[in-house]
């Protein structure tokens, strides 16, 4: 099974991207191409979720949302303590990084979906709602912790006024973030739009989807390899966190998926991937602006340079095995 996951074109193109940068190729996507593809992917997955939802069980949807919020706040909290454990990472860095791990990576999720579809495993649509829900809490978490740390420091500081946080605009970010808006908006549209009209958009949002994902992962592979270059500057503590945290998150996801929400193996596996994955599109800009005190070069090195490849290559087959075993208990 593990091997199979590596035979998915999307994963292979990710590998190609990594390889391209390793041999220092001049391959480069034009400015904005990846951003554009990213919007398309969110729109398509949102619609897919919405359509599935229109036929979903209301009660289960609600509990999925509640658990999404719990995980969205809980996971970064766990991450924050792991990072602060040996007091080597500054509080600001810990807050900003934890926020990335509380949030999710759509591309990892989509690769996992591709993995399930190729393996012919069915899955519920609830994880898609949870993906939408889990973007925001982690962002709030990071901003709030950072603000608290600031207050703390300001206590013994003369010009405290200067560091006063503007709560409004910061928290707004958590809900008006572009990715969140497209994802949740498309989901709602998928739920309310007339089915026959939705039929007409399927060729664009569903049929060519997996192919577009390949193009996206090719570029992600290049970016991941670029970030990996800056690994040494990150140091052992952070690098190991990039491996440990997804393992912790994934495990939590499996337990919640099977035991709390009673998902099928496919659904619980997807929730594990959501919990294990770290954001590298929605969260970084928010932290850059909201937590300037944190070292921005760490986020992407960790989420894109370590955790993303780890999840795609090791995590997907591993968490699938773990889910199957846990479900069988």
């Amino acid at each position: 099974m593990g091997l199979d996951s590596l035979l998915i074109p999307a994963v292979l193109f990710f590998a190609l991207g990594v390889f391209a940068k390793l041999i220092n190729s001049d391959l480069k996507f034009p400015e904005g191409m990846t951003k554009g593809i990213g919007i398309y992917l969110l729109l398509a997955i949102g619609l897919k979720g919405g359509i599935a939802l229109s036929g979903a069980d209301f009660g289960l949807a609600i509990s999925s949302i509640i658990w999404g919020i719990i995980l969205g706040f809980g996971l970064p909290l766990i991450g924050y303590f792991i990072l602060r454990f040996r007091n080597k990472i500054s509080k600001f860095d810990a807050a900003a990084i934890a926020a990335h791990y509380g949030s999710v990576s759509a591309a990892t999720f989509l690769t996992a979906v591709a993995f399930l579809e190729v393996s012919g495993v069915t899955y519920e649509s609830y994880p898609i709602i949870m993906m939408v829900i889990m973007e925001s809490p982690a962002i709030i978490f990071g901003l709030v912790i950072a603000a608290m740390v600031r207050k703390q420091m300001a206590a013994g500081d003369a010009n405290a006024a200067e560091v006063k946080t503007e709560w409004g605009p910061l928290l707004k970010e958590a809900f008006t973030n572009g990715s969140v808006v497209v994802l949740i908006g498309a989901m709602i549209i998928g739920t309310i739009a007339s089915p026959e009209a939705l039929e007409k958009v399927m060729p664009f949002t569903q049929e060519i989807f997996m192919g577009v994902l390949c193009l996206f992962l090719l570029d992600m592979g290049m970016e991941a390899a670029k970030k990996a270059h800056t690994l040494k500057s990150a140091g052992v503590t952070l690098v190991s966190f990039g491996i440990i945290m997804p393992l912790v998150g994934g495990t939590v996801g499996i337990i919640v998926g099977i035991s709390a929400l009673g998902f099928s193996v496919g659904g619980a596996f997807l929730l594990a991937i959501l919990s294990a994955s770290a954001s590298y599109i929605a969260v970084p800009p928010v932290m850059r602006y909201g937590v300037p005190e944190a070292n921005s070069s760490y986020y992407l090195t960790l989420s894109l340079g370590i955790t993303f490849p780890f999840n795609v290559v090791v995590g997907i087959p591993l968490f699938y095995q773990m889910t199957t075993m846990y479900a069988a208990l």
Partner: protein, 107 residues
């Protein structure tokens, strides 16, 4: 005949794209009459900004103003730099073309 130009400063400010909205607020507070923005990449203390994602993109602002206002703008940036925002700024002398029936730009 030759156009006479108004002596002023061209203030250059390089910020991360995520700081763009905030900088525009600051410029409006400083009551500038206009500004020019250019998307940029770059390298500095906060590492490489390759323009791949929004957080890794820089924006170069060029603002034509009087020497006093230039000073005022630079001052308004200091506290942000001290808070950790990657901001680099410099100014050069500029002879601005204001010989036109609107006498614009008002620097």
């Amino acid at each position: 005949m030759s156009v006479e130009m108004t002596k002023g400063k061209a203030v250059h400010i390089v910020v991360n794209a995520t700081f763009e909205r905030q900088l525009i607020k600051l410029l409006k507070q400083a009551e500038v009459t206009g500004y020019t923005q250019l998307d940029a990449r770059g390298f500095g203390y906060s590492g490489e900004q390759d323009g791949h994602s929004e957080g890794e993109t820089n924006v170069l602002f060029i603002v034509l103003v009087t020497t006093e206002k230039a000073q005022q703008i630079e001052e308004s940036l200091v506290s942000y730099i001290n808070r950790g925002y990657p901001i680099v700024s410099y100014m050069t002398d500029a002879d601005v073309l204001t010989t036109n029936k609107y006498r614009k730009p008002t620097i």
